[in-house]
Symmetry: C2
């Protein structure tokens, strides 16, 4: 690589896009592994997932440097400029996705108790949906298909709904059996991280729209996460449970 002189704008852009495709693949893998690590309580996988985030971070720094150099040296315009700016934006979203997945993996290491089975199933389901959305939006980017990107953008509401129902469920578990408070708190943050990863997929969808159509779709995405205004009342006659959630 050293000493290689890039002969055209296209060649430089191709190289950025290769890095970005590699980064997208790593982020998908990172997310899939973090979901497996938490749902199966697999500490070894969690450890690997935490370690591998470094590669994603390095790719972001690399892509941003390549893109800025390209803008400075070649002064691209119109679609070429949008391609370059989009690469910076998408790499920044992928870096955050890697970070959030790493945080899920960290929590997988902390989760040593057996957990309420139904909540864990819900978390697995939400995780798979978030992963599907990420794959879809990266495919849409690879094909510069803004309509496909908009499908992802609209479907984020389903993830928000899953998050809402998990939030209520986990709060209920904690109230029913306070011994699960520490565990369920971690699972709440895992669910929140998944919801945030979904938001980053919609950011990428918006960038694809900007890239292909040259227009900003702005801030009017339907927001379905209502947990910040959710309160559950503690039942007045909560039976004092000898709850048998431990394995």
């Amino acid at each position: 690589m050293q000493g290689h002189i890039v002969s055209s704008f296209e060649e430089a852009l191709d190289r950025i896009n290769e890095s970005l495709a590699r980064m997208g693949g790593l982020a998908e893998r990172q997310l899939a592994d973090s979901i497996d690590a938490i749902t199966r309580r697999d500490r070894t996988l969690a450890e690997q997932t935490i370690a591998s985030d470094k590669q994603i971070d390095e790719l972001e720094v690399d892509i941003e440097a390549q893109a800025l150099r390209l803008i400075a040296l070649r002064q691209p315009m119109a679609i070429d400029l949008r391609e370059t700016i989009s690469a910076i934006k998408i790499s920044s979203d992928l870096e955050r996705i890697g970070d959030l997945a790493k945080n899920i993996a960290k929590r997988a290491q902390a989760v040593d108790q057996a957990s309420p089975g139904r909540a864990m199933q819900g978390l697995g389901r939400m995780g798979r949906q978030v992963l599907t959305q990420l794959k879809e939006v990266l495919d849409a980017y690879a094909q510069r298909d803004h309509e496909r990107a908009m499908v992802v953008w609209r479907r984020d509401e389903e993830i928000d709904e899953m998050y809402n129902s998990l939030f209520r469920e986990l709060l209920t578990y904690m109230m029913e059996d306070p011994r699960t408070i520490s565990l369920c708190t971690h699972l709440l943050f895992v669910a929140k991280n998944l919801e945030r990863i979904g938001d980053h997929s919609t950011n990428i969808a918006e960038t694809i729209q900007f890239l292909v159509k040259g227009e900003n779709i702005g801030q009017n995405r339907p927001k379905g996460d209502t947990t910040s205004v959710t309160t559950l009342e503690y039942p007045k006659d909560m039976p004092s449970k000898d709850a048998g959630t431990a394995e």
Copy 2:
């Protein structure tokens, strides 16, 4: 403004910087108000804070559009290019700060119970520290003072420590009195949002370093948030409390 033709790169950059200064001021205000709203349980202030986030969102779209137009039309290089790119990056961090503050304000509306006084004091203290850091980093940006920015960058660890101790405290409250679970969960997310706002201030500090020195300081910031691996064991002989936390 309509029809006004920008006569120089400097003039266009000044205009971007004015928008950014306004955006920074609004983000500070938004954060201060959201902290007051939650610590004083002031629903009216919470409502205003939620509504005013829209202005910050609009400024981000506006700054990004101005900056991209400037790059496309003027093809700036070196420091001029870094100035323009930095404006895009900082506006993106400020937009997220506004968003996180809005979320704190939403939770202020949900918090109707009286809350454990000491936790609320801790939250107020953490909030003030986060606000100080944001002010500092925006001043550092206004003066293009990368050393001052690096002070902010290093001090983020203190915020992480405050977050760690609040996290443990809130978990303990929930265990001692399960009737506070719903409330304390909201306060946990508020604390997490404040910790994230601290991270965005460090992002801005990194951008200032990039802007002034032309170099990326990379990913080696000391990370002090250990809550993702924190577990609190439920005490075996937890007395069944008639806890009198209600006012």
